[in-house]
Each structure stands twice: as C-alpha cells, then as structure tokens.
Symmetry: C2
Subunit: 223 residues, 2 copies
DNA sequence: TTAGAATGTGAGTGAGCGCTCACGTTCTCA
DNA sequence: TGAGAACGTGAGCGCTCACTCACATTCTAA
C-alpha cells in the first residue's frame, strides 16, 4: 500500500534513485536560495542545479510553492528536533542556567548558517499567504510552555501563554535581527548575557522591597 | 531652478495635477499591497487602481522598485516623525512612565493599520536587496540612544549601543508578532504591561536588597 | 522474458511581467 | 495667442516564468 504523499508532494518516490532525485532537488533549492536569494530560484534553475530536468521536479512537487514548503518543513523539523534535544536535559536545571543555555543554542544555530536561516525566515510571510500550517511554531510554543509551567508559580508573569509568546518571539527576533543588522553580536558573549538578563529580568518577581505585593501590583496596573 | 528629484523619483512633478497623480499612484500602491499583497501589485494594476496610465507611473518613478521605495520612505518618515513627537515630551518623565507610554504608542500605531504595517514590514528584506538606505532605522536608533544616555549611569546594562539595539528590536518585533499571530494582544492592556515589564526588567539594576549582592545572585540562580 | 509501472527528459506553451515610445492633451508665459 | 514645456496615454515589446506533455529509459515482478 502506497504511503500517502504529504500535501507538498505530488508522487511519493518508490525507488532509491527517485528518493535521491527528491533530495537533490531540495538541496539544490537550498543552495540557490542561500547563494542568490528567492528571486533567482526559478524552477528551471533549480532543476539544472540539481542535475535533473524540470519534468522530474514536477513529478515530486506539485508546484514551486510546494517545493519551497517542503524545504521549509524539512528545515523546521530539524530545527525543532535540535531544540527539543537541547531542552530535555535542561528541564531539571535552575532557570537562569537553562535559559542561558537555550539562548546560547539558538544563537549558535543562527551563527552556523546565518544566510539560510535568514532567507527561510524572510520566506515565512510568503508561506503564510500560501496557507502554510503553523504546526512547528505551535509545537515550539508548547515545548517552551511545558518547560516553564512547573516553575510558573514562583515567577512574576500571571499569564503563561502571553509569557511564552513574549519569550519565544523575543529570543527569535533578537537573534534574527543580530544576523541581519549586527552579525558581530553573534560572536559577542555579552550578547548572550544581555539576552539572558532580558529574559530573566522579565520572569523574575519584582523586588518586594518596602511595599506589600498587592500594592505593588496595583501600582503596576495604574502606571 | 528645478529641485533635484530624490533617487526614487524620475521627474519631479511641477504642476498641481502632476503632484496629484504622484499621490494617487502612491496611495493606490498602498491600497493594493494592503488588499492583495505584493505579488498582486503589478505596475499595470497599480496604474489602473490609481486611475492613470502606466506611462504616467513611469514619468515619476524610475521602476517598480523605486515606487515601492518611495512609498516606504513616505511611511517611515511619517512613523519616525510621530515617534519623535511622542518622545520629546517624555524626556523629563521617570523611566517607567516614559517606557510605558512609548510602548503604548508603538502598539497603537500597529493597531491603527495592522495590515499595511505588516506588508511594509515584510517588504523590508526585499528592499535591503535593492540597497535601501537604512537611514530611518539609524535615526530611530539615535533617538532612543539620546533618550537613554542621560540615565544610563543608573541602569544595569554596560553597553549602551547593545542595549538600544535590544530595546528597539524587542519592542518592534513583539508588536509585529502580535499583529500577525495574536491580534487580540494588541487590544489587551496586559500586553503593554508585560512589554513594559520586559523592558524595565532588563534596564533595572539587579536588586541588591537585604543580602549582599553575591547571595542575591545565588538566590536567582536557584529559582 | 517481458509487460507495465516507475522514473526521467526538455522543447515548448501561454500567461504575465516591467517597461517603452510615439503620440495626444493641457498648461505656462513671453 | 502661440510655441514649447509639462503632463498623460495605452498598445505592445521583449522577456521570464511556472508548468505540461509526448516520449525515452530503467526497474520490478510474474
């Protein structure tokens, strides 16, 4: 019984050489995106770079959109797996240690392959227009949520979902901004420290110095 | 003596109707971007929407890139002016008050016209490819830097440039993420509070409460 | 051995794009 | 008032693109 092809595929490859063709097409796409950007990635050019004919490309991918979507899915699946693998052993660590390690990891990934990360990141809005399922974002969100939930009682934010939203997007956005605007920051240990301070300063309960906590909350609400 | 046309223009309009044509073209471009996205914004379509002919479009704009650039410049000049206008009276306010007001302002702007802001934001990478000068980002950066500099002694971060980079990108990115992923947050007063807490928690010196500083750090390390 | 399924080919199609140019129309000013 | 500058027009050019299809080659399994 044939496996159902995912929506980004046309036919599933059944022989080895077909699988090789698929892979060649995907990696060629990545290579061109990386080298010359999305505008340069025409289907003919991709086929040429992969060493196959356009026809073969359309055997396995229903459209250019489908091809780019498939590439994106592959990349995000890998990224998410890496993130999860890094997260698991940190579950028992103190929050500051865990956070610093996670931030360091995100930045390392960006630093390893800044150009491809940038291109794929900038492709996201286009894919939203094509109706890309946001399953990976949601899974990432849930991972961080599960990580934070057990310690949430001791932390300042009251709304867990919003806190996770803020944390995930902050780290993601700042490391991406660094890639495009300040690549030197990716090498600077201080940048990791500052991101960590940002995140921890957000989560840490406000110093309940002189005033009782309830009053402190009211003050916040009125400011 | 004729005014020099900016690099995004071909000829400067000299009569009133020409100026009207220019404006019509720019607003038509914005309308189409807003309604159907960049892919739908062909020059013929823009001209049609503006009620002029393609020829007229190319009288005033040297290329499609130039047209989009001009629109972007108009939008960013307005945004920057608004931001600066909001910033000036806050110079003398306490930091928490000023920060909350600024964040509220950024979010309000996004909320007013979320779709256009989103489209233009997503156009930025493309324009970087076209060699867009980043003068507005730099000006924004310098504004915030000048705002923060006088109080910097009392704050935790040691590197002013990096702090400004982090603050500007955090607020910008989070309000943009809210537009695309959680529009409900734009209406939620708690979101402004949390962004403010994020920013202030980052800037605030670490609490040196009752215990000596080293112990306080250890407590934090254990939470 | 061989039928037919799976895989691979690439010249060609039609649609849409950015942009031009030869030509009208309207305005300005001496 | 009329000459020339400024403004406006839109059919259509040249080109690139995503994608197809008639056909060739290779593999599988009975």
């Amino acid at each position: 019984m044939p496996r159902r092809p995912p929506p980004s595929r046309r036919r599933a490859p059944r022989q080895e050489r077909a699988q090789a063709t698929c892979d060649a097409i995907l990696t060629a796409t990545a290579r061109i995106l990386l080298k010359d950007g999305y505008e340069a990635a025409s289907t003919n050019r991709i086929a040429q770079e992969a060493g196959v004919s356009v026809g073969s490309l359309y055997q396995y991918f229903p459209s250019k959109e489908g091809l780019v979507t498939a590439l994106m899915e592959r990349h995000r699946a890998q990224g998410l797996a890496d993130f999860e693998a890094g997260l698991v052993p940190l579950a028992s660590q103190p929050l500051p240690v865990a956070m610093r390690a996670l931030i360091q990891q995100v930045i390392s990934v960006k630093r390893e392959n800044p150009k491809l990360n940038q291109v794929l990141h900038e492709l996201k809005p286009r894919m939203r227009q094509w109706g890309l399922s946001d399953a990976y974002s949601q899974r990432l969100f849930r991972l961080v949520r599960a990580f934070l939930a057990p310690r949430f009682e001791e932390l300042r934010p009251q709304n867990l979902d919003m806190a996770v939203f803020i944390l995930v997007n902050t780290v993601e956005a700042l490391s991406h901004s660094a890639v495009t605007e300040r690549p030197d920051y990716l090498e600077d240990p201080l940048f990791v420290e500052e991101l960590t301070a940002l995140v921890l300063g957000y989560l840490r309960p406000e110093p309940a110095t002189s005033a009782p906590r309830r009053t402190a909350r009211e003050r916040v609400a009125r400011m």
